[in-house]
Amino acid sequence: MSEFAIETRGLVKVFGDNRAVDGVDLRIAPGRVFGLLGPNGAGKTTTIRMLATLLRPDGGTATVLGHDVVAEADQVRSRVSMTGQYASVDEDLTGTENLVMLARLLGFDKGAARARAAELLDAFGLTEAADRQIKNYSGGMRRRIDIAASIVVAPDLIFLDEPTTGLDPRSRNQVWNVVRALVADGTTVLLTTQYLDEADQLADRIAVIDHGKVIAEGTSSELKASVGAGALRVRVADSEQSGTAERLLVDALGGEVNRESDGVTISARTDDPKRVPALLTELEREGVDITEFSLGQPSLDEVFLALTGHPAEAEEEKRDEEREPEVAR
């Protein structure tokens, strides 16, 4: 029995000539939240579909809770749940009907199935919508019923595929609360997200995935530290002064300097925060008007950029991501 909740070696999935997942190695500790971070089409969904036994790997091995996902798919299925753009609920049925159906399929008798459905709807704040068809639910309600459907029998491990894509901030917070409650109860959570702050907020460890490969892995602080100790951001009042500011930043910090698309924000990485006060003096002396000056850890956006060489924006839509109903951005 592996000490890891999930362990994969060289996992591969090929669609035609697209190597959607191209040799992924993961080791995921039990009882934690593990984030799989990457842009659209990076291979996140394909990876967790293989782990949830919905897709057969073309190469490599994967064990989930000690069971091989191919040879012992049934044992895996009886201990995990999947929620996401794919594993969904029936839009034509009501909230209650969906949950009762799933409870019946899991072996509850009629009465117990009804009771469990009512309990879950209540806990997820969906009692009022219990008898409405799912297609009339809002995005946030939809995501909650999806998750409720996954914990009719609370699983030991839950896959959440982009649980908050397209949600407003309040609904997103509610989903985050559910995730935290799951982990507090001992459930292992593997979530995929294209949102860096979501991974930052929820995940104990993060794997950054791009073009089907894991390109970095660690805690969010480790990932940030790998990029540089600190990130300095300077915003000038007048874009005509950004040239001067850029020059001063290079002089003071010696490294590479980035001017962002707004034309007035300049950022740079620094390994030595002690040089920063002198820079501030220099800027003052040259008469550069500063509206923002901050020193902090790099954001995961910057980490992503540093790791992949491209920003964390959606790449071209891939076949296996195209069914997402409401992609934000």
Partner: protein
Amino acid sequence: MSTAAAAEPAVDETPGVLDDDKLKVAIGKRERPARPGAVAASLTFGWRAMLKIKHVPEQLFDVTMFPIMFTLLFTYLFGGALEGSPTQYIQVLAPGILVQTVVFITMYAGMGLNNDIKKGVFDRFRSLPIWRPAPMVGLLLGDAVRFVLASLVVLVLSLIIGFRPDGGVLGVVAGIALTIVFAFSISWIWTLLGLVMRTPEAVLNTSMTVLFPLIFASNIFVDPDTMPGWLESVVNLNPITHLTSAVRGLMGTGAETSDLIWVFASAAVLIAIFAPLTMRRYSRL
């Protein structure tokens, strides 16, 4: 720096409060009852099919309105020309229209399946520890209800406009039963298409392309003796022709054994080929 700014925030209409304590209790329930057997799981999916009919009654249009339309149209349009009078024609046409109606609505099986896959519902089912074919069997159970309903619509209407089957109640029931057996076997072609093709529309178009010639190049509407020789030979090889003859026989004065053998043999062949292909494709989706 948040990249999480949603383009179109979906606003909840209900204030839906998440109660952390209730959530904790609900999440804490891990006892798993004994898993249901194959029959129980299939029946649950059958129940789902019934619920869908309840919520989307429009989908019954094709099993009610179309048979009514076809029966009336063909009877009164062609009856006089083909058999001398509509009343005479309906004696021949009724069993044929029954076959046509039921066989036509089999193609919705593939469409429904494809829709489920597209919407993600099937992945939920596939990730459950249940008897694997259960969702498919449940769909077919739902279809059985539609088949029976459509058969009753055709039968009642035909009786009203003058169909008088010599075979009596027993013969009529046997005829309907035989039609449904054949319908189930042909359904497997569409379930396979439903799994393989990309959109429900593609599934529908493909099944139409197969079904139209199959149904019209048969003896349902016209006696094959009146056709050119080459077409007559084709029609006589068509399993739909033998099904129609068998149903006419059962509802009339008795079916030819050769027709029954044809029907059962073609049903067996269809199932032997397409059921395993469907299940194989299903488990490897």
